[in-house]
Symmetry: C2
Subunit: 352 residues, 2 copies
C-alpha cells in the first residue's frame, strides 16, 4: 500500500460523542444558547476532529509551500518568476506578511521549497524540490503522475515531522508566481465552472493579462483533459508542486485528527485535490477566509465550506488562514474556560 | 462650558499627512498593492486617528458597562432582571465570554455598574450608578436630561482615568437585561426605520415576546417623541445608563485620538448617540462585527461603517469587538513590521 492510500485509509469520521458533549457544554455556558454563533460551531467541530469534548489548539503551525509554474512563460503574472525565491528568503528572515501575522497569533511558520525554479538557500527553508518549476501546462502535463505522488507524499512526511514537535492546529499557505493559474484550472476541473468564471487577477493583473490567463487555462484543460474523479491525474496535469504538497499536509492532518485551516484560492485548490483523494478529509477543514479571487468562492461552495473571515484579502502565504486560526483558538477557549450557569450562579432563561 | 461640550470641541479631523504616509508605506511593503484588503484600510485609519504614520495599539482595554431597564416590566426579555448583577459578578470573576476572549487577545476588561437595579459588590467593578435601572420608557422618559448628561460625563471621566494607565485602542461592551429594546428604539429614532424593521430577538425571545417588544418600542417613540437632532434628548427619553456611558467613552476616545472598536447593537446605539453629539467622532470608529440583530446593520449603514467580522454573534459584552481589536492590532503590525521591497531585495511588479 502506498503512503497516500495508507494515509487516506486512516481518516476516520468525526467523533460524534465528543461533538455532542461539546454542544451540551456550550448550551450551559453563561450566555444565551447559540449567541456565540460561528464560534460555537467551530468549537464543536474541533471537538469532533480531535475526538475530545474539551479540545486543545495551543500548538499551531502554518505550512507555507513554494513552487514555480511553467505557465508563467505565457505571461499570466504581473511579477517576474525571480520573486518566488526572493519571497521565500523574505519568509526565512521573518519580513513577510505571513511572518508578522503568524507571530501576532502565536503560530510557527514552516517554509518549504517544493519546487522553486531558482535557489532557496536559507537554512530555515526545508528543501524538497520535486522539480525546478512545473512544465507549461498549456502545452502538456505540468508534471508526471509519479511527481504528483511525490508532492503528496512529501506533504504527508513534513506534516508528520511537524506533528512530532507538537501540533494541534495546522494552517496552509503558499508562494509561487503564477500559482493562481493552476489553482483556477483545478477549480474549473472539479467544479465544472468555466475558466472565465473562476479566474481572477491574482497579484493584480490588468484586463489584457486576465484574458491571456483565461485562455491559457482553457488550453490547459483542452490539452490535458484532467479527470476530476482521479485527483492525482488532475494534480499531475494541471497542478503545482506546492499545491500537491499542501494536499498531502491536509490528508495527513485528517489522518492524525488535526484540524486544518485553509487560506485562499491556492489552498482551496489543494483542498480540492485532498478531498478528491480522501472525501472524509473535508470534515477536518475550516475555511479561514473568503479571498477576492472568484474561484475561491466556487471551490468553497463545492466543498460546502463557509469562510470564517471576509477581509478582502488576496495575498495568499496563509495570511487569512492564520488570522482565522486565532479565532479557532478563541472558539476553543470559550468552550474550555467559560463558567457555566451553575458555576457562576446565573439564572437561566424563563423560556426555552 | 460643560464637560461634554469641551470633549466634543476637542475632537479634530483625522491626520491626513499620517494617513498618506501610512498609505505610501503599505504600497512598498512586500505584497501586491492592496492585497491585505481591509487590514490595509484599518492601518491607514489608525494612523490618521493617532496622528502618526507608524501607530501603536499595544495597550488595549474594553469597557463593559452595565445597566438595567424599566421596560423589562413590559416582558421584553427571556431572562429575569437579576441576571444583570449575576453577569456583572461573572465578569468580575473572569468567567464570562468577554473575559475569555479579552484574555485571548490581550485586552483588559473594565467593568462598570452604570445603573444596575441590584447590588454589584465585587471590588473589581467600578460603581457609578446613575440610578437603579431606568424608568419604563413605554410610559415616560427613561431618565432625566440631567441623568443623561451624567451618564455621558461618567463615560468621559472613566475613559480618561483608563487613558492615564496607557490606552492605545479601546473597545465598547455592555450588559443589561432588556437593553436591546432601548437600542432598537434609538436606532429607529436616528435612522427613521420602523421599530418592526430594527427590532430583533435579543437573547432569543419567541414570536410573542418579539411582538410585545416591537409594540413597546412603538409606544416609547409615540409617548416620548425623541428629537434625533438632539442626542441627549434621545438618550434621556429612550436610552439607558450603560448606553450613555458608552457614548461618553466614544467621544472621549475621539477627543484623545484613540481608535474605538464598537461591538454589537447596544454599542452601535451608543455610537449613534456619540455621533449625534459629535459627528466627527464617526471617523474614530471601527465596527467590530455584524451582529444578527436586524437593527445593527441599520445603525452601521446610517453611520457608513462596514463591520470587520461577521460570525453570527448576538451576545454583546464587547465579545465581537475584542476579536476585531486583535485584527486591528494585526493590521497595525503589518504596517510597522513588514519588510519593504527594497529592504528584502524583492522585485516589484512588471506593471502598475
Amino acid at each position: 500500500m502506498s503512503r497516500i492510500s495508507e494515509t487516506v485509509a486512516a481518516i476516520r469520521p468525526l467523533d460524534a460523542t465528543a461533538m455532542q458533549s461539546a454542544r451540551e457544554r456550550q448550551n450551559v455556558l453563561t450566555k444565551p444558547q447559540g449567541s456565540l454563533g460561528r464560534l460555537e460551531e467551530i468549537s464543536i467541530q474541533v471537538a469532533g476532529i480531535q475526538g475530545r469534548p474539551r479540545p486543545d489548539v495551543s500548538s499551531k503551525a502554518v505550512f507555507v509551500m513554494a513552487g514555480d509554474h511553467g505557465c508563467v512563460a505565457e505571461g499570466v503574472s504581473a511579477y517576474p518568476q525571480e520573486v518566488t525565491p526572493q519571497m521565500v528568503a523574505n519568509f526565512a528572515r521573518g519580513g513577510a506578511a505571513i511572518n508578522v501575522l503568524a507571530r501576532h497569533v502565536g503560530v510557527r511558520v514552516v517554509v518549504v521549497d517544493m519546487g522553486v525554479a531558482g535557489e532557496c538557500s536559507d537554512s530555515q527553508v526545508i528543501t524538497r524540490k520535486i522539480g525546478r518549476g512545473t512544465r507549461n501546462f498549456a502545452v502538456g502535463p505540468a508534471m508526471s503522475v509519479e511527481e504528483a505522488r511525490r508532492c503528496v507524499d512529501t506533504g504527508i512526511e513534513l506534516f508528520e515531522a511537524e506533528l512530532a514537535r507538537g501540533l494541534d492546529l495546522v494552517g496552509t499557505g503558499d508562494m509561487g508566481i503564477g500559482n493562481t493559474t493552476p489553482s483556477a484550472a483545478i477549480i474549473a476541473a472539479f467544479t465544472g465552472r468555466s475558466p472565465a468564471e473562476v479566474t481572477g487577477r491574482g497579484t493584480g493583473i490588468d484586463d489584457k493579462r486576465l484574458a491571456t490567463k483565461v485562455s491559457v487555462i482553457e488550453r490547459a484543460l483542452a490539452t490535458n483533459k484532467p479527470d476530476p474523479s482521479d485527483a492525482l491525474d488532475v494534480l499531475a496535469k494541471i497542478g503545482g508542486f506546492e499545491i500537491g504538497g499542501l494536499a498531502g499536509v491536509i490528508i495527513a492532518a485528517a489522518a492524525h485528527r488535526v484540524p486544518v485551516v485553509i487560506d485562499g484560492v491556492i489552498s482551496s485548490a489543494a483542498a480540492l485535490i485532498a478531498t478528491g483523494l480522501a472525501p472524509r478529509s473535508r470534515d477536518y477543514l475550516i475555511a479561514g477566509h473568503k479571498s477576492v479571487e472568484p474561484g475561491h468562492g466556487a471551490a468553497l461552495d463545492h466543498m460546502r465550506l463557509a469562510p470564517v473571515l471576509d477581509l478582502g484579502l488576496r495575498l495568499g502565504e496563509g495570511t487569512g488562514g492564520v488570522l482565522a486560526m486565532s479565532l479557532v483558538e478563541a472558539a476553543v477557549k470559550t468552550l474550555n474556560e467559560m463558567a457555566t450557569f451553575s458555576d457562576a450562579g446565573v439564572s437561566e432563561a424563563l423560556e426555552g
